[in-house]
């Protein structure tokens, strides 16, 4: 994605600013990223970044609770906040002539969120409710279990929303301290895209954000996940009748040289993705896993997932089982596909398709100033703008041999965490459990043979 028209600057207080003006539509989008997420959380404090994000909607002195939302909506705008493993972000997209409002509200709450004790308590139950809504799904629960098993020590093991006991125990003081530590100008990236005059925007950003304090550098994340030497298995049982499968491998981080070859591997196995949070190909049936699982009627869907992270993240394959299919059949079929790539590599046409699909996704994403701003800020936080600018180039440079090497290096039995959600049917519970114990001892064997 050629990043023309890009303006980058850093204010004296350390705030990084990225502007990309365009006149495609009379709208503008303002995003502010903070370099904090579940990655920065310590045991006992999981979920604190997400909760802080919620508290920034609960009022400041200037915009008491509800006033900020009303001001943006009244201006014909939309807003939201999101918390990820590596970042917390807030945005407003507005009719172009109203974009200054975003600068007002975001500069205000960067430093002046109230964290009123009663609001903190009321938000505790809102977040527990958000969590319970997710827990209603056994696929969510399986995902949480597999993620926790896939890491011994790194904080990527924790759910972004936090563990329930932490959500019950966190205090207003801890939340506020987290806010003060990470919400500083020098730990933030501001992005503006859309229809605005760059010189005017720079002046406004300096006016609203220039006087905000910088802080000491936030504590570095020192913890490293040790190399994985043993496969891990998770079996979750429950009442819902649909069986799920989730398979995770530790994968390269955004700035690792293997990242782009791995993007192609992901695309060959599970189909090309949209650009992260937004979009994605609606048609995704010609990838290898779909053919191996859905077309052979082992599962009714299959998805792979891989995205840019600061530290090594996970490549996952998930599927919903067809009736009367056992998890180990799905697992064996997946290993067969992996082994084929390990043995034979991929075809040049598959590489070409992955590149064309990615180009198209970039073109679609670039239609919206909201998506565009997200990508600019996200890239700056997890990698760099250069990394984004050379995405296409780096993808073009990937060879079939690179993709083969990715499969051989990363997709090995010792680097895998395999999760089964097994329905315990009330009228037939024992056979399911018995089958599982057999699965556990035999399932990895064919894979080892294929690879050797």
């Amino acid at each position: 994605m050629p990043l023309d028209n890009l303006i980058q600057t850093t204010l004296d207080n350390g705030l990084q600013v990225i502007l990309r003006p365009s006149q495609r539509a009379p709208v503008a989008s303002f995003w502010i990223f903070y370099r904090v997420g579940s990655r920065n959380e310590t045991p006992g404090h999981t979920g604190i970044s997400h909760w802080v994000e919620h508290m920034l909607f609960k009022g400041t002195e200037r915009y008491p609770r509800g006033e900020f939302d009303k001001a943006v909506a009244r201006a014909g705008g939309v807003f939201n906040g999101m918390t990820g493993p590596d970042w917390t972000v807030y945005f407003e997209t507005l009719p172009a002539e109203r974009i200054e409002l975003a600068l007002q509200v975001e500069s205000d709450r960067m430093a002046h969120a109230s964290f009123a004790p009663e609001e903190t308590e009321s938000e505790r139950t809102v977040i527990l409710s958000e969590r319970e809504g997710s827990e209603n799904s056994y696929f969510y629960r399986l995902h949480e279990e597999v993620q926790a098993a896939a890491y011994h020590v790194h904080s990527y093991r924790n759910p972004i929303i936090g563990w329930p006991a932490d959500l019950l125990a966190l205090t207003r003081e801890e939340l506020y301290a987290h806010y003060r530590t990470y919400y500083t100008a020098n730990n933030a990236v501001a992005v503006v895209t859309g229809d605005f005059a760059p010189d005017v925007m720079l002046t406004q950003i300096a006016r609203y954000f220039g006087d905000l304090p910088s802080g000491p550098p936030p504590p570095p994340v020192r913890i490293q996940e040790p190399p994985m030497h043993a496969e891990r298995r998770v079996v979750l049982r429950g009442d819902d009748p649909t069986a799920y499968y989730l398979h995770a491998f530790q994968a390269p981080p955004a700035l690792h040289p293997d990242f782009f070859p791995f993007v192609v591997l992901d695309s060959v196995l599970g189909g090309a993705k949209g650009m992260g949070l937004f979009g994605g190909g609606a048609n995704n049936r010609s990838n290898r896993l779909y053919r191996a699982l859905v077309e052979r009627e082992l599962t009714v869907d299959v998805n792979s997932s891989f995205g840019p992270t600061i530290d090594p993240g996970l490549f996952t394959i998930s599927a919903t089982l067809a009736p009367d299919i056992e998890h180990r059949q799905v697992e064996a079929a997946i290993w067969q596909e992996i082994a084929t790539v390990q043995r034979e590599g991929v075809a040049p046409a598959e590489l070409a398709r992955a590149i064309k699909q990615t180009r198209a996704q970039f073109a679609y994403s670039s239609e919206s100033v909201t998506y565009e701003a997200f990508w600019l800020g996200f890239s700056q936080v997890v990698a760099s703008l250069d990394w984004l600018a050379t995405w296409d180039e780096q993808l073009q440079a990937v060879t079939p041999a690179d993709v083969q090497r990715m499969a051989q290096t990363y997709l090995t039995p010792d680097r895998q965490t395999v999760g089964y959600y097994v329905p315990t049917l009330a009228d037939d519970a024992s056979p399911v459990v018995r089958d599982l114990s057999r699965d556990l001892s035999t399932v990895a064997t064919p894979a080892h043979k294929e690879i050797a």
């Binding site: 014909g76 507005l94 319970e132 209603n136 819902d240 048609n283 064309k356």
Partner: protein, 432 residues
């Protein structure tokens, strides 16, 4: 010019002799083209014992047509990073294309073939059936889906197209045959009244010519869709669907709403914004989420179609908080109908509903779906020019009147889905 709202001056509109209407809005800002379209065929044309038929047919269209069998379709769409999707709704079968502009003509050809000449390959019928049956099984484990389904069934009944699940039920989907699919397509798929709306880096006359070449010979004439009966069977039911093992309950509360063409429609739209949309989910968000901390989401929505639709609130809460949340939502319904909304609160929602328009028109997809709606509901090509006055002429008295008329708490159906609580009432009870 580039920033002007789509208007009679900037939209190219053509109707082919076979009754298919084409709308094009050129936008050369990015190399993308988008089509959104609909045919006048949907669940209204299926019988209750065939619930899910329209959706099944829609799902089969991308699984084989005369010139593009399953593999050829996948290659034609996926090799170029495009998307081409088809899905059925109550009154329509909707489809969309997103592609690079350079590939758009090729996809029009694919679309024309699959709408007119699907082949319904037997092996894909069974595969799709399995996908759908598992989907139905999953739907029945999801508290929000279950609450919404029971809400519509309670208001309309499964005999009524607004009361049935679009994807059908285990027994109806299991029983559908290939002949059912073939017959449904032959009887109901027609260019009459169809709309194709295109936005993007295309040349309007070229798009019209290309569509005429691919769709012009389509002459299937069909009977008009059956009229929809007005339903008035429910009032005040309280339904609880027991879902043991779940940790959150979902609530849907509401009643019959308006037709899209009803003069009250814009009054309802503004009232609904105040009730459950504006800012952080309007009054319902403020009370149930912000003040009481009971729910992550608590909002309201309106569905308005050919016949009276629904106006409802939805919330996900801890099972212990179900009663408190239901009481709060009903109290907000009552308040909107009994107290005049103050001038500022009304003006805020009007400013939002009119101010948001440029955002919805930012992308080609947003423009194409707006054009489609304008044509589909007969709103006129000057709809966006008239829209601000439609919204701004709504008065506080209008808001109060529609709330009192449609959201009378005694007339509302309350559906909860989740674990049983101590002392839970009977499965279905009438509140006193």
């Amino acid at each position: 010019m580039m920033h002007a709202l789509p208007s009679p001056e900037t939209i190219v509109r053509t109707m082919l002799p076979n009754g298919l209407t084409i709308l094009v809005r050129e936008n050369h800002a990015s190399p993308v083209a988008v089509l959104q379209g609909s045919l006048r065929v949907g669940a209204v044309q299926e019988s209750p014992v065939q619930a899910g038929l329209a959706a099944f047919v829609a799902g089969m269209l991308t699984r084989g047509s005369a010139q593009f069998d399953y593999d050829a379709f996948n290659a034609a769409v996926e090799n170029i990073g495009a998307s081409l999707t088809v899905a059925a709704d109550t009154h329509s079968t909707d489809f969309g294309i997103t592609s690079l502009a350079e590939d758009f003509d090729d996809l029009l050809k694919v679309l024309a073939d699959l709408l007119q000449r699907p082949t319904f390959p037997p092996e894909h019928i069974e595969r799709l059936r399995q996908i759908k049956l598992v989907g139905i099984l999953e739907r029945e484990q999801d508290t929000a889906s279950v609450a919404a389904r029971r809400f519509h069934e309670t208001l309309f009944g499964r005999e009524h197209p607004y009361g049935r699940a679009l994807d059908g039920y285990q027994e109806t989907v299991s029983a559908l045959t290939r002949q059912d699919l073939v017959d449904f397509h032959a009887r109901n798929f027609s260019p009459q009244g169809a709309v194709l709306a295109i936005a993007g880096a295309v040349e309007a006359q070229h798009v019209v010519d290309t569509i005429a070449a691919h769709f012009g010979d389509w002459r299937t004439a069909v009977n008009a869709p059956p009229a929809i009966a007005q339903a008035r069977r429910a009032a005040g039911e309280h339904v609880h669907v027991s879902m043991p093992g779940k940790v959150q309950s979902d609530i849907v509360i509401g009643a019959y709403g308006v037709r899209r063409a009803d003069p009250e429609f814009y009054n309802v739209r503004v009232a609904n914004c105040i009730l459950g949309q504006f800012g952080m989910m309007g009054r319902l968000g403020e009370r149930v989420r912000e003040e009481q901390g009971l729910a992550y989401y608590s909002y309201s929505a309106v569905v308005a179609e050919q016949e009276d639709g629904v106006w409802f609130a939805s919330a996900g809460v801890n099972p212990d908080d179900v009663d408190a949340a239901v009481d709060s939502i009903l109290a907000e319904f009552e308040r909107l109908g009994s107290e005049s909304v103050d001038a500022e609160e009304l003006a805020d929602s009007q400013a939002y509903l009119t101010g948001i328009v440029p955002l919805t028109l930012e992308t080609n997809e947003g423009v194409a779906s707006t054009l489609l709606n304008m044509e589909w509901y007969g709103l006129g090509l000057d709809y966006l020019q008239r829209y601000p006055s439609l919204i701004n002429s709504v008065t506080a008295a209008d808001v109060q009147r529609v709330a009192a008329r449609f959201l009378r708490p005694a007339a509302c159906v309350v559906v909860t889905a989740g674990p049983d609580m101590m002392g839970a009432e009977e499965d279905v009870a009438h509140r006193g």
